[in-house]
């Protein structure tokens, strides 16, 4: 079996599919507005021309590369290419501003590959054991996880907790727009059919980060306050960096894998959760947000950790862990590879080839990423007055492309102005993004749980996973508030 797998993976067409998939993924992921899910859906028709395992390699490569690619623009121009990279801007961009873009990219590349490999190991060795976890998650558990995720707002708020919470609440309120899934009632849509679906998330993300960043840059354009580019070439990831982030990568990779397994939770949530965990258990939490290696490694290892995690319930149970794998489920079925325990028996060779291909995809990503750091960094060297217009065009067509709807472009632009005002007023942007992702998940599942329990709140406390997450969330939400109150009292005394 081993030799056959090896022959399968090392054949020219498989390697080409992997390299092509990863490269396409990185490019699509790096472009604001184009997501890895979209890339997979776009590449899918191509896969029918190949043998099943070759076609799947293309998709796996795209998936892995797409999640990583988002970090490149997040680090270089403060614009997450995908929602999974929204947490990476927190420390990635400050490092670039110090002129250490090469170092930041090196860290994100190594962390992404390491996180991916860790999830790959878990996929190969303990997939069946972990798979049952996906089945335990239903409405109450998902609510509890989302609630826990929202509690992270208090830790990514930056200087002012109150401002962070206001941003978060604004995000939660914006997420209310649209048709309520539980009652079928439309809220805050002003009679518009377009708004019935709620504000599309990707255009809001692109507007809040990319467009607002463009508007902010305009002020610097005329004063020539650009990034110091003199020492970019020197700054590379060092052995010291690597050793420093190693424990972070391992912890975050494992966290990412677990979150990837949970249906409906993907790289965006896991990146924030890992960032929060690393910050909480760090000896120097105050340095997070200033551009430290752990602040990049944690979200990047974690979001790539979800790739292997999401494949676990997909292959063993036929349950997709996120939107990427939902599309992949379609591809598997098209190739007559029905997921489930039988897949591992009837198509053992194909499954093992996929596993091996998953590792090679991460390796390819590592090589492509590290060897291109110099090329990526050149983006920072492009004069701002040429770069900003191009990014603006990308914002416009990226937000159009996601649903082919021009209204999304308008939403993106308005979000850009909102982001600009928020940044000028010292309000952090990440809480809004987190709230937009998690708000509908928390509210919908809270009320869905009550439908399931016919109105009884005990459903949240009698199910162990749900109860645990809710308790963790309450602690993490109130701990910083209590801490800051004590700190103030000390100051006063």
């Amino acid at each position: 079996m081993f030799v056959e797998v090896l022959l399968n993976v090392l054949s020219l067409d498989v390697l080409l599919a992997l390299v092509g998939g990863v490269a396409a993924g990185i490019a699509i992921g790096a472009m604001p507005g184009l997501t890895s899910t979209m890339g997979i859906a776009l590449l899918m028709p191509l896969t029918f021309k190949f043998e099943p395992h070759v076609g799947m390699m293309l998709l796996i490569g795209e998936f892995v590369g797409g999640i990583y690619g988002g970090s490149i623009t997040a680090i270089l121009i403060n614009t997450p290419g995908t929602s999974s990279a929204a947490a990476t801007v927190l420390d990635g961009y400050p490092m670039t501003q110090r002129g250490e873009a090469g170092r930041a990219l090196g860290i994100s590349t190594i962390a992404s590959a390491t996180g991916g490999m860790i999830s790959g190991l878990m996929l190969v060795f303990i997939a069946p054991t972990l798979a049952s976890m996906a089945l335990k998650f239903s409405a109450p558990e998902t609510f509890a996880l989302a609630f826990f995720g929202i509690s992270i707002i208090s830790s990514i708020s930056g200087k002012s907790l109150v401002k962070g919470l206001i941003s978060g609440l604004l995000g939660l309120i914006l997420a209310l727009v649209g048709m309520d899934n539980i009652s079928g009632f439309t809220r805050f849509t002003f009679g518009s059919i377009f708004l019935m679906n709620g504000l599309s998330f990707i255009p809001v993300l692109v507007g809040l980060f990319a467009m607002s960043q463009c508007l902010l840059s305009i002020e610097d354009l005329f004063t020539n306050n650009s990034v110091d580019t003199t020492n970019i070439k020197r700054a590379k990831i060092s052995m010291k960096d690597f050793l420093k982030i190693l424990p972070t990568m391992i912890r975050s990779g494992i966290t990412g894998t677990f979150i990837g397994i949970i249906p409906g939770a993907g790289g965006d949530i896991s990146a924030f959760v890992s960032y929060d965990l690393e910050k909480r258990f760090s000896k120097h939490p105050e340095k997070f947000g200033t551009g430290i290696p752990e602040g990049i490694a944690a979200p990047e290892a974690s979001n790539n950790g979800t790739t292997g995690g999401a494949l676990i319930p997909l292959l063993t149970l036929g349950i997709p862990g996120d939107s990427n794998t939902a599309v992949m489920l379609g591809a598997l079925m098209m190739h007559n590879l029905t997921p489930g325990p039988q897949l591992f028996i009837e198509h053992a060779l194909t499954v093992n080839t996929l596993f091996a291909g998953f590792f090679i995809a991460n390796l390819v990503m590592l090589i492509l990423g590290l060897s291109n750091v110099k090329n990526f960094v050149k983006i920072v060297n492009i004069p701002k007055n040429l770069l900003v217009p191009v990014v603006m065009v990308l914002c416009v067509i990226g937000s159009f492309a996601i649903n082919s709807n021009f209204n999304d472009v308008i939403v993106m632009f308005l979000a850009g102005i909102l982001g600009y005002i928020l940044a000028k007023g010292g309000f952090p942007l990440s809480p809004i993004v987190l709230a937009l992702i998690l708000g509908p998940m928390a509210e919908g599942n809270f009320r869905r749980s009550l439908v399931m329990s016919r109105g009884s709140y005990s459903i949240f406390f009698t199910r162990p996973i749900a109860a645990t997450f809710i308790i963790i969330a309450l602690v993490s939400l109130f701990f910083p508030i209590i801490k800051s109150m004590f700190a103030k009292r000390k100051e006063a005394a």
Binding site: M38, I40, A41, L42, M44, P45, A134, L135, K136, F137, S138, A139, G178, M179, N181, I182, S183, G184, T186, G191, I193, F194, M196, N197, G198, S200, P263, G264, L317, G318, I319, P320, A326, V327, G330, M333, M334, N336, T338, P339, G340, P341, Q342, N403, S404, N405, G444, R448, V451, M452, R454
Partner: protein, 322 residues
């Protein structure tokens, strides 16, 4: 250098104007690429089916056929866009059951009558699928269980006012079971909840529960179709069990905006019929258990008018009428 730039600029302007003129109308249809709007997201069943046909359609029509996904709000966004497209035959919209259910529950500016039906290509049926470890193995036993334990059965659906909510409600009212409807974000999520034992039943298509049935986590008690389904030969229809009214056709067809010329509708209908007979498409549909069901535009129109009455009545019963 300057001369070269000038030449480049000229060339660009020229090619741009050529692009622009490509749209000029000519007598023979089609003369430019056709776009099919799909009101649901990429990668789903409808999307895969339509995308599998585009290559063959290109050979038949002699023009590229592009697919654009405009998902969201119970397909309302896609239909609102599709209904306001130009009636020139280059904009085709995929017509699904949501075209009938969504206007029942939400304030929208379109109905099934905002489109000229071109043809139907595929129909699926509903099922009553329950957990494999449920204490009943037939529909009768399930009904008896539900009556002995009132309020114990929950049906997962894809959202309030969605097609599966309507069908579960029809099952409840026809069989006299008392049912709790649990809305999820899409049929797939509802099936996941069934597999995890968080709801007791789902009414979705045989295709959507296939994986979980094969894995031994779910069993199909009945199919809600006029005849037994090829992929589930041992499962009785609800009709056989005495519930004549429990038979639904979840259609997948195409429509064009009102005022599209008749000959174009006919050309498109012929093209789809031909594509459906293509060996590659046939193989794809068989492998993925898509049931071929070609119906002409007129037949699809009648079908939709019939279903519209049924769903409107159910919306009233469920108190969902807008």
């Amino acid at each position: 250098m300057k001369k070269m730039l000038l030449a480049l600029l000229l060339l660009t302007t020229l090619s741009l104007s050529l692009f622009a003129q490509g749209g000029a109308e000519q007598a023979t249809y089609p003369t430019k690429p056709i776009t099919i709007t799909i009101p649901v997201s990429a990668g789903g069943g409808t999307d895969l089916l339509v995308r599998s046909m585009t290559g063959v359609l290109k050979d038949i029509l002699g023009q590229t056929v592009n697919v654009v996904n405009k998902p969201g709000a119970g397909a309302a966004i896609g239909y609102a866009a599709g209904a306001s497209d130009k009636p020139d035959g280059y904009s085709v919209t995929s017509m699904l059951a949501e075209l009938i259910t969504t206007p029942q529950v939400a304030q929208v500016n379109f109905s099934y009558e905002s489109f000229i039906p071109v043809c139907n290509i595929n129909s699926e049926c509903a099922t009553i699928t329950v957990r494999a470890d449920a204490p009943y193995d037939t529909l009768e036993e399930m009904i008896a269980y539900a009556k002995a334990n009132p309020g114990s059965i929950s049906f997962g659906n894809s959202g309030v006012g969605g097609i599966w909510h309507f069908i579960a409600a029809a099952v409840a009212s026809s069989t006299g079971m008392e049912v709790t409807h649990v809305p999820f974000e899409g049929g797939g999520t509802a099936v996941t909840a069934l597999a995890g034992g968080h709801v007791d039943a789902v009414p979705v298509t045989p295709q959507e529960v296939e994986v979980q049935v094969k894995a031994g986590r779910a069993k199909v008690l009945a199919v809600l179709a006029p005849e037994r389904v090829a992929s589930l030969p041992n499962v009785p229809t609800a009709k056989e069990l005495g519930y004549d009214d429990l038979s639904f056709s979840i259609f997948r067809g195409f429509g064009v905006p009102l005022n599209t010329p008749d000959h174009i509708v006919q050309t498109l209908s012929n093209a789809f019929e031909k594509a459906l007979a293509d060996p590659a498409v046939t193989k794809f549909m068989e492998e993925r258990h898509f049931t071929k069901d070609f119906q002409t535009g007129a037949e699809l129109g009648e079908l939709m008018a019939r279903e519209e009455k049924i769903y409107a009545e159910m919306a009233k019963q469920l108190g969902l009428k807008k």
